[in-house]
């Protein structure tokens, strides 16, 4: 990946990645490793699993995600992340906006070819 495409990607991720993390939590609470593997399947979106954790820290600070500890049979207790009501609302707003936004971008890129 060249320097230019890398910086373009960084910019794009900044707007969108946190909502993708919220979306992964839509079906229910998940622990860190789970979230990291799920997101890590999408390499363009999420090249380095470790960058998930500062993002989760910010989402917690913003009150969009909260954590709970749960006992695990296979080892030490696990920290589970889940959406708060604000997180659910933020995700819904993003989902509603993303479709039209993506269509506009596609249209502009096609028109100007």
């Amino acid at each position: 990946m060249t320097g230019v495409s890398e910086s373009v990607l960084t910019q794009l991720r900044k707007g969108v990645l946190e909502y993708c993390v919220l979306a992964c939590l839509r079906t229910g609470p998940a622990y860190g490793l789970e979230l990291a593997s799920r997101l890590g399947r999408h390499q363009v979106l999420f090249a380095s699993e470790g960058t998930l954790y500062p993002l989760l820290s910010r989402l917690r600070k913003q009150g969009l995600v909260e954590t709970t500890w749960q006992e695990s049979t296979s080892g030490p207790p696990r920290r589970y992340y889940e959406l708060t009501a604000e997180g659910t609302a933020a995700l819904a707003a993003f989902a509603a906006t993303w479709g039209p936004f993506r269509e506009d971008v596609d249209t502009v890129l096609k028109e100007t070819r």
């Binding site: 860190g32 380095s48 699993e49 470790g50 960058t51 993002l55 820290s57 910010r58 030490p76």
Partner: protein, 177 residues
Amino acid sequence: MTTTRTAMNKHPLVEAYLADLDRALRGSDPRERAETLASITEHLDEALGNAPSTDAVRQVLAELGPVDAIAASTTPAEPHHAAQPPRWLPALSLAMAGASLALLLLNPFIALPLALAALVMGIVQLRSDASSRPLTWAAVAVSTATILGAVILAILLLSVSQDDDPVPSPRESVQQR
């Protein structure tokens, strides 16, 4: 839960990675730093367990990615602002200088230290603070005038007291002039 949890397995590559990450996060927001270190340690514990093979460790660390990339995705720490002098300080210095001038004839023993203090404060402020320079210069000027006045007064008192035995009061020496 403690934020400085150590990894379960203490594999040397894991320890080296976490130490590198700790260093890389030095410029980051403190809360993000603590939470990132804790959650990545948990991630490693969960992924590797107690006695992982070196291959397994390498794999998991590669998936986590370089510590610099992780640090780059954190919020930078708030810069510490250099301590600013209080904004009312120039006004205070000028007030002290003015008071010292006013007190010069009434009580030079209060006026002189007050003027010296105002002068020193003024000089210190001129050297450091860029704001309210006119006020600070005025404080320096007035306090210097007071000190000069006190010196002149002292010279007069001394010259007069060389003629008389009792030291005249400042009021008397002023009237003599």
